[in-house]
Symmetry: C2
Subunit: 192 residues, 2 copies
């Protein structure tokens, strides 16, 4: 085997890995995706993302009603890993707030509440070049995949998220595994 | 470049991928790990596993008390992917039941409940060669990492899990995203 051939062998083994890293760095594969009209596409795989916490009947819930509902919060894995290292949310962070009906009677359960059908999905996206406030909210109502999801620039979400979020505009104060990370990294702001 | 060299180039590019697949198949990296005494080691990364659902104050909760608590259920990603394909739990499935205190007043929240400190972690593990019933339960109390976690062969868990689990001995009836999968694959058994 010639020296040139050995170099080619080495290059062939390393190149695919190098290309993967280069491609992944600027735009994570789990980041936000948009239609040509600028509408956010539904994050199809969010149920396989990192779960941050769940609440039942919390008063700040965006779809609050007479009956208490669960809200589950997920974040894309690339943003989660970055947060563990820095205490800050990187560009292309995507939060998903999934609101679910609560049920009490079913199978062997006779008390308390468990989760049933989805009532709505909302997202909170950091995309620094795209949004004037760096972050934007999108709602997916009635199972919409993209066509009905627009950035809610006048959203009531801002009323609480901007002044009350413990880390930037996010409610890290309600994500128990992230609170110690943010405090250790100095990004945590106590909010009343 | 000779024909032999080209073959070597091709082999060098494919071999690492083939080795990865071969190594991953028999023992998934997210499967159960044991001490030399056969105690289950704490699944350190379970918060990055796939979230299945959450309940508040459910009566079948293993750490039920006067105050309602949340229970979050996670499963290892390799088992989750297998379930999506087959509707069954593969060998080396690991469920984690994380019980958390519920809090009502805090920051901007004035109603309902959100999650606070961990009260306990229990696991449900499928390891066909190791356990006579194929599945076993392990409890991690008071932050134990491994030393206090033993298989609970006489566990009260069996009283409900064996006769009442919708898929094998697992409560898929309370995991809303998995119910349609199990029904479609024919593994779902309705349980009263």
């Amino acid at each position: 085997m010639t020296k040139k051939s050995r170099l080619l062998v080495a290059a062939a083994a390393v190149l695919p890995v190098a290309v993967l890293f280069l491609a992944a760095s600027p735009a994570p594969s789990d980041g936000p995706k948009y239609t040509s009209e600028g509408r956010l596409m539904f994050p199809e795989h969010y149920r396989e993302w990192v779960f941050l916490s769940s609440g039942l009947g919390m008063t700040y819930g965006p779809l609050a009603s007479g009956e208490p509902r669960f809200d589950n919060v997920f974040v894309n894995p690339s943003a989660y890993r970055s947060f563990l290292e820095t205490g800050h949310w990187p560009d292309k962070t995507v939060f998903v707030l999934e609101v679910r009906q609560a049920q009490s009677k079913g199978s062997i359960n006779r008390g308390g509440h468990f989760q049933a059908d989805v009532a709505g999905v909302e997202t909170h996206v950091k995309d620094e070049q795209r949004f004037p406030r760096k972050w934007a909210f999108f709602g997916f109502q009635n199972g919409a995949k993209a066509s009905e999801a627009r950035a809610q620039d006048d959203a009531s979400c801002y009323t609480c998220h901007e002044p009350k979020g413990a880390v930037e505009t996010t409610f890290v104060q309600f994500y128990p595994t992230l609170i110690p990370i943010a405090k250790q990294k100095g990004s945590y702001q106590p909010r009343e």
